[in-house]
């Protein structure tokens, strides 16, 4: 309940924040929504020497599509902003399905999508959503900006490839070829719980046919899992029963769950398969309704 001492800085610009990070030699942490970092500090699982609070930096709280359909989410865009967004609901079905099931309503008013990606919790929902969408983040450091695919960003449990002096300034979802479809299903023990199993399926549809697909898995491995082979198997299909069975099977194989108090490894694999199939059927149904 009582964090250790630290130095606190609240820079007004990204550049100042980077300078502070660079000075701190890896001893500093960015404070975004604080909904992962502060709980860890309260339990003294984390005790950074310095916190760099970016909440006072103007202009990072956006989320919007570019003209070409690329979707950008700023580092201070909160889960709740996404949950309540009509624009997101209209254009990003996988994200829209995930936003309401991340944490609880009060955590969602503070927590950020970008912070969640940087936190790299294997049970974090956004990372698998982003992986399914082929999303990336834009990291800014003393030497400028670079783009890192979320798939490459996460290096292990609670580990990213961000350099000690880099800040993630935004997350980016590339424009879709055709129509975006997708969904996110999460098995949780109670609302607001971390995922026992989470499955994100995103598909880009040319008519009834899948032109590009991605599948990300939450909570069933040491880190977010990119079930690329499973996703690949959907390309070119119309999400018919056989195609979904194959993808479901491959996704279950890609999962690396552990047996624990939430459920056995076999069960978690089974749920992965079930969820892949359910989201696939959902996409197919809504495609038919639209047609």
């Amino acid at each position: 309940m009582y964090p250790s001492r630290f130095r606190y800085e609240a820079p007004a610009t990204v550049a100042e924040a980077i300078a502070l990070l660079a000075d701190a030699n890896g001893e500093a942490k960015i404070l975004a929504g604080g909904q992962s970092l502060i709980p860890m500090m309260k339990l003294r699982f984390a005790a950074p020497a310095m916190l760099i609070d970016i909440n006072g930096i103007a202009g990072l709280d956006y989320h919007h599509p570019d003209a070409d359909g690329t979707y950008r989410i700023g580092a201070l865009c909160r889960h709740a902003d996404l949950e309540k967004s009509a624009a997101l609901a209209a254009s990003q079905p996988t994200m829209a399905a995930a936003a309401p099931v991340v944490a609880d309503p009060l955590v969602r008013t503070r927590g950020t999508l970008v912070g969640s990606l940087c936190h790299a919790d294997p049970q974090g929902d956004w990372a698998s959503v982003m992986v399914s969408l082929g999303g990336s983040i834009v990291a800014q450091g003393p030497n400028g900006r670079r783009s890192i695919a979320v798939n490459d960003l996460i290096d292990g449990p609670f580990q990213t490839v961000l350099a000690a002096d880099e800040i993630a300034v935004e997350a980016v979802v590339p424009a879709a070829i055709g129509t975006r479809a997708g969904g996110y299903l999460k098995l949780e023990r109670r609302v607001g719980d971390f995922a026992t199993v989470g499955v994100a399926v995103s598909a880009e549809m040319s008519g009834a046919t899948v032109s590009r697909a991605g599948i990300g898995l939450t909570g069933v491995g040491p880190a977010t899992i990119n079930a690329a082979e499973a996703a690949g198997s959907l390309v070119g299909t119309s999400l018919d029963g056989d195609a979904l069975d194959t993808a479901a099977q491959l996704a279950a194989e890609a999962a690396q769950p552990r047996s624990d108090h939430r459920g056995s490894a076999d069960y978690k694999r089974h749920v992965v398969a079930t969820f892949v199939r359910r989201i696939g059927e959902q996409i197919q149904r809504s495609g038919q309704e639209a047609a």
Partner: protein, 193 residues
């Protein structure tokens, strides 16, 4: 507060960073010197003696510490006091005016939406944020909005009713500006204020 004297803990070495924060709490300007590690909940409770904000867990799950941060409901145990610098904080103590309870408070009492009362301030503030945004919520919307707040005593059914009661009363007040004594409060025999 008097400026003649302020006790500072003798234990503070010069190496302990202390910052001045200035914020609005329930409409009133307040200021304090705080260590950055002080949680907002503790500034409110121990610093400003606004003990209606409770803490019921150490993992950001229970919502007993819910306050309004620029009108948005947050768990004040998961923010640092320094982060409130320049912001507006609303706590349970700010719900009622000198003469009148807020309809949410009346609703909780009238519908028996509390037992031990420990979760109640957080529940009421989460409910207030909901009603500010959605004056006419459905039962499901209420249950969803309160799903970051745990209550061990009531079983929630009466909490939901309490919020509906308040929504009715607030809506009623907007519709016709009569004295508001039409329904709910006062209708039950044996009741007192």
């Amino acid at each position: 507060m008097s400026t003649l004297f302020e006790e500072v803990p003798a234990s503070f070495g010069d190496d302990v960073p202390v910052r001045r924060v200035t914020l609005t709490v329930n409409g009133e300007q307040r200021a304090a010197n705080v260590e950055p590690r002080l949680l907002l909940a503790h500034l409110l409770r121990n610093g400003f003696r606004l003990t209606g904000t409770h803490t019921g867990c150490d993992t950001t799950n229970c919502g007993a510490c819910t306050v309004l941060y620029d009108g948005v409901p947050v768990k004040s145990c998961t923010m640092f006091a320094v982060q409130a610098d320049g912001h507006d904080i609303g706590t349970v103590e700010g719900l009622a005016t000198a003469s009148e309870l807020h309809p949410i408070q009346e609703g909780f009492k009238d519908e028996h939406g509390l037992q031990c009362g420990f979760c109640t301030p957080g529940m009421m503030l989460a409910a207030k944020a909901l009603l500010d945004e959605n004056p006419n919520p459905s039962e499901d919307e209420i249950r969803w909005a309160l799903s970051g707040n745990l209550c061990r005593c009531t079983g929630y059914q009466n909490i939901v009713k309490a919020v509906m009661w308040a929504a009715d009363k607030l809506g009623g007040a907007a519709d016709d500006s009569d004295d508001g004594s039409a329904d709910g409060a006062g209708s039950d025999a044996g009741e007192e204020g």
